[in-house]
């Protein structure tokens, strides 16, 4: 009888402790006063903090309802999710691309993240607006996470791919669109999601190292030409990639991104990572880009070769170049390159709603 009473009291105490924990967690959505989106409601759902060791683990499960209070259509939005900005490991972001939100319209953003912050105060989570991209490619926000660049590239890719599918529908009809969707679905199913670890700097590896040269996929319309490149490879690890580039356009270049394809011992190729770099490259000039990064693949993987291709170029005037659909039709690229978020969204709509649902979606904008 006495032990039952102790058990009952213990369970009640743990319930109270859990409730106290939830109350300790501060939760905040931070939108600037002149923000083009306003918060209609927020549901923190199962957001909770739990102490473990010397840190709080904050599980963020939030559903924001936002209104477009600007006069333009919203194409993409990014929120920074912070548990403690100055602590490494406490930063994540949630972006929603491929939107078409009219002025005054309400739209949802779902956040599911797990963050860490050291114990030493009240555990809390802060959701901050990092940027909003409009349909005229103008941007609002602090852009601490370089979301302007990322969202602009997504939007350009979305326009390219929507245009491609619309044209296909016009010229080839529904059957041509359906065939393209089936081909897309098959390609996406063939792209296996690989396992990989990446660390800034270099992971210690006792295996002997060798220099492996990059081969490059030529894109005739790319404003950057990648000429030479190599990385140090030891077993299943590649690090310190370095590539020599030349600006063959007539405009100065400030940013570029190179896709890094790795070939394993069985001849399979997969896109390992993208290599972004801020540069200052005048027309006709050459330069060197590199990353102090190590990529580690599953131990059974033996890196046999590496290929690079230019995936994004940012000009000094703020405009961007992305590969055309024709360039991406190269069989090697098609196998490994990640489809744009919009292309993936359209194929999901086709899967869920069928051909008519997809055609309706393409007619929207």
């Amino acid at each position: 009888m006495r032990s039952r009473a102790i058990l009952f009291i213990g369970v009640c105490a743990s319930l109270l402790f859990s409730e106290a924990h939830a109350q300790m967690l501060s939760r905040k959505v931070n939108l600037p006063a002149d923000s083009p989106v306003t918060l209609v409601s927020v549901d923190w759902g199962g957001t909770d903090a739990s102490a473990r060791g010397g840190a709080f683990f904050v599980d963020v499960h939030a559903s924001l309802s936002l209104r477009n209070s600007s006069q333009k259509r919203v194409r993409a939005i990014t929120f920074a999710v912070l548990s403690q900005e100055v602590t490494p490991g406490g930063k994540g972001s949630v972006s929603v691309p491929s939107l078409d939100i009219a002025p005054g319209e309400v739209f949802p953003v779902t956040i599911d993240l797990r963050l860490l912050r050291p114990i030493g105060g009240t555990a809390g989570v802060e959701v901050k607006l990092d940027g909003v991209l409009f349909d005229d490619l103008t941007f609002y926000g602090p852009d601490n996470l370089q979301s302007r660049r990322t969202m602009t590239v997504w939007e350009l890719e979305a326009r390219r791919d929507r245009q491609y599918f619309k044209k296909l529908l016009e010229t080839g009809g529904a059957k041509a669109l359906q065939a393209a969707m089936l081909d897309d679905l098959s390609r996406q199913a063939d792209r296996s999601l690989y396992g990989m670890q990446m660390v800034r700097g270099r992971a210690t590896n006792v295996e002997p190292q060798r220099d492996v040269s990059f081969a490059f996929l030529e894109m005739p319309d790319a404003p950057i030409q990648a000429m030479n490149g190599m990385a140090r490879v030891s077993g299943s690890e590649a690090h310190a990639p370095s590539i020599e580039i030349r600006n063959r356009s007539e405009r100065p270049i400030r940013y570029l991104e190179i896709g890094w394809i790795v070939k394993d011992q069985q001849g399979r190729e997969f896109l390992a990572a993208s290599m972004p770099a801020d540069v200052s490259l005048a027309p006709g000039k050459t330069g060197q880009v590199g990353q102090n990064t190590a990529l580690r693949f599953p131990e059974r993987t033996s890196i046999q070769g590496m290929t690079g291709f230019v995936s994004t170029v940012g000009f000094a005037d703020g405009s961007y170049w992305i590969p055309s659909r024709a360039s991406l039709s190269d069989s090697r690229l098609r196998r490994v390159v990640t489809p744009s978020p919009e292309e993936q969204r359209l194929t999901q709509i086709y899967q869920k709603k069928g051909l008519n649902g997809l055609i309706e979606e393409l007619k929207k904008f």
Partner: protein, 213 residues
């Protein structure tokens, strides 16, 4: 008949009591069979032996064996008790009763309840994975990727179930889109990774990123 030609009295006595070695007993037996004097002496010793045994088996007059046995037993017990008083006592091991066991079970149930109510499900899953790894004797191995060795600082991990930020092998930042379908993961050599999810109901694409910077 000279005494010197006969066996010694000791040998004959040992022969009678069957205490001679086998080979010697055989030789003495042959001699006794042929020598009348030695045979006679052996008979005398044999009679003496029987008589001594009979005398020894009889109790002295006035002695009651049952009573004597009881007294001896009682004296032994008194002696043992007195010895215990002098020698250091051994500590008795307390038998574990049902009460401590019930208290321990209650405490364990309380801890389990507190864990379930307070810790997120991901922690429980990690604990399960850790126990499984300990049980199977394997190193924890998320997504089939061996952990980067001797690495300090943050590690971005990309696998078929999503993206994570690790520090010293433990997740410090993860992504879990319960209601959504993972369609892609990608990594940037700058030290970030992204996971793309499509909401099954709304079709909305959400891209979640973690930063090791």
């Amino acid at each position: 008949m000279k005494k010197r030609a006969h066996l010694s009295e000791t040998t004959l006595a040992l022969y009678v009591s069957a205490d001679l070695p086998l080979w010697r007993r055989a030789l003495v037996g042959l001699h006794v069979a042929r020598c009348s004097w030695c045979r006679q002496m052996a008979e005398i010793y044999r009679d003496d032996r029987l008589r001594v045994r009979e005398i020894a088996s009889e109790m002295p007059p006035g002695v009651n064996w049952d009573k004597l046995s009881a007294e001896i037993t009682a004296n032994i017990r008194v002696g043992l008790a007195a010895g215990e008083c002098v020698a250091p006592r051994k500590k008795k091991t307390a038998a574990l009763g049902w009460r401590p066991a019930a208290a321990m079970a209650g405490l364990a149930a309380l801890l389990v309840c507190a864990w379930v109510l307070n810790m997120p499900s991901t922690s429980t899953q990690e604990l399960g994975r850790a126990f499984t790894a300990i049980w199977s004797g394997h190193v924890l191995n998320a997504g089939g990727v061996n952990p980067v060795r001797d690495t300090h600082g943050l590690v971005v991990e990309v696998n078929s179930s999503g993206i994570e930020l690790l520090e010293n092998g433990s997740t410090v930042l993860g992504v879990s889109q319960d209601q959504s379908k993972l369609v892609d993961v990608s990594a940037s050599a700058e030290g970030s990774a992204s996971a793309r999810y499509v909401d099954d109901n709304t079709g909305q694409m959400t891209i979640t990123s973690v930063y090791a910077q």
